[in-house]
């Protein structure tokens, strides 16, 4: 058995085989020589399982997490948009656009997950008899046990919209590694993420400009790890990360400042951060029934 030959044959049909297996292309080329022949089949088996075998399960799980956020957001916006007098008339078209786009995302994710052979996530209490799909108010408690009044106070509605959008983005970011095995889905997830980022920017800008109480004066992007209110700090912990690919962004040059380096607010705002599944689920747990 010639291991190098196998790899080179695969490379002909899949030029990215080395990248899928590992970033260390040269190490892999020398792989066959360094592994005992008896161990080789097992080593190969685990390597290829890692690269190709994981496709469905992890991809479906990742998309289902995205779908869970889309249901939550869609239901939240639909309820808000249909609450007379809550959203200012000038902002209402924007929130209606978001509602429609979240619905398109739900349809898209349902279709994609089904095509991959997976079972799409359904919110709690989702039944055809009680629900006008995908609107599932019976799945959520947006007051978080009476803590918030999002549907009677516009300021609160916007604050929760902001944390749902930003957290939804962090959730998607965190799932990107799970999608690397499927380039087509990965690209669609990137494109979905871009739409969500536009939503987040809109909500944050409305908070900045509307005649409401937004003491931290939010920008459309997340500066450092600043939350809209102190109790919501957990939603932004880690957003002030300054290291990417072993590069410290606060050391990058910026001639427009006296010290010649990038201010931290920009160094951190220039990157959105990935949050893992456990973390994002814990952040929305209080809003689910």
């Amino acid at each position: 058995m010639n291991f190098k030959h196998i790899l080179s044959e695969i490379e002909k049909s899949d030029p990215e085989v080395y990248e899928k297996l590992s970033d260390r292309r040269q190490a892999l080329k020398g792989f066959g020589a360094k592994v005992a022949m008896v161990a080789l089949p097992f080593a190969i088996g685990s390597m290829f399982k890692k690269a190709y075998g994981q496709t469905s399960k992890t991809v479906v799980d990742a998309l289902n997490l995205a779908l869970e956020f889309e249901y939550l957001e869609y239901t939240y916006y639909r309820q808000g948009n249909n609450t007379g007098g809550l959203i200012s008339a000038s902002d209402l078209p924007g929130f209606k656009a978001i509602e429609a786009q979240e619905k398109a995302h739900i349809d898209f994710l349902n279709k994609t997950i089904t095509e991959l052979g997976g079972i799409p996530f359904k919110p709690k209490n989702f039944t055809a008899a009680t629900t006008v799909a995908p609107y599932v108010p019976a799945a959520y408690d947006f007051t978080k046990g009476g803590t918030y009044t999002p549907f009677s106070d516009y300021t609160t509605f916007l604050i929760l919209a902001q944390i749902f959008e930003d957290t939804g983005l962090h959730a998607l970011q965190g799932q990107m590694p799970e999608l690397l095995s499927n380039n087509g889905v990965l690209q669609q997830a990137f494109r979905l993420q871009a739409t969500e980022a536009r939503h987040a920017a809109f909500v944050r800008l409305v908070r900045r400009l509307a005649p409401i109480n937004a003491p931290e004066t939010p920008a459309p992007w997340i500066t450092n790890n600043i939350p809209p209110t102190i109790p919501l700090q957990p939603y932004y912990l880690g957003e002030d990360n300054v290291e990417h690919n072993r590069i410290i962004t606060t050391t990058l040059p910026n001639i427009y400042y006296a010290d010649g380096v990038m201010p931290k607010i920009s160094a951190t705002a220039a990157f959105d951060e990935p949050f893992d599944k456990t973390k994002v689920l814990s952040l929305i747990a209080g809003f689910k029934l």
Binding site: A104, Q173, Q193, T195, A197, I255
Partner: protein
């Protein structure tokens, strides 16, 4: 930290607005090119800058794009459009700084493979005119998003892909914001999204063609991966 945004302190890439310097660079390029014609066997014209192949080419493409956006916001801050608000001024500085983070980050990531400083050409933009500036800012921010979504499709390094994910979503925030400055509630409309509510993915060759409207330097993108 004092913010200093006087017009005198323009960045090294912002020489396009100065005709005499631009002329100088054109002449210098011609002379340098004549020498290289003898020395080089490359098929492409010697006065072009080679962006590289594979992931290097893709990162250079995005690096060039970031050089353009930094130049644009720097000029916009120096010569703001009529009727600009305080909030818009503040956020333009944020935009310039974040684009600068992206530019310098990509430069560092590329290391010795980074293309040299380029000459931008922003003559399409009338900075004093709000509509002109926002139209082009919107084109370039939407392009940033689409360029990254497109680049990952032909990228090899998963490390780079995951990094671009974190940058791309911030560019989408920028893109949404710029559209809002022009017209409220247009952050993501049907001109950008498809029926699934997904933003664009632009093929690198196509994205580069748009970018060329804003740069003076000629590039050899013959090895730039595209689809």
């Amino acid at each position: 930290m004092k913010k200093n945004n006087t017009p005198a302190q323009v960045d090294e890439t912002e020489i396009a607005g100065n005709p005499s310097r631009r002329r100088f660079f054109q002449l210098a390029g011609g002379i340098a090119g004549a020498g290289m014609l003898v020395a080089s066997c490359r098929r492409t014209p010697p006065s072009t800058t080679y962006v590289g192949a594979g992931d290097i080419g893709l990162l250079n493409y995005l690096y060039i794009l970031k050089q353009v956006t930094v130049a644009m916001y720097t000029q916009a801050i120096a010569t703001p459009y009529y009727s600009i608000t305080l909030s818009e001024t503040e956020l333009q500085i944020d935009l310039r700084d974040q684009e600068l983070v992206h530019r310098e980050f990509l430069k560092k990531l590329l290391g010795r493979d980074a293309v040299k400083e380029i000459t931008t050409n922003l003559s399409l933009i009338t900075f004093a005119d709000k509509k002109s500036f926002l139209t082009h800012a919107s084109i370039l921010e939407d392009l940033s998003v689409g360029a990254m979504n497109g680049a990952i499709q032909v990228m090899s390094s998963t490390d780079y892909m995951l990094t671009l994910s974190k940058i791309c979503s911030v560019d989408a925030r920028h893109a949404g914001y710029i559209r809002e400055v022009w017209k409220h509630n247009t952050f993501a409309d049907g001109t950008i999204l498809d029926a699934n509510g997904l933003d664009k993915a632009i093929a690198p060759s196509l994205g580069f063609a748009t970018l060329e409207n804003y740069i003076e330097t000629k590039f050899d993108i013959s090895k730039l991966p595209t689809f």
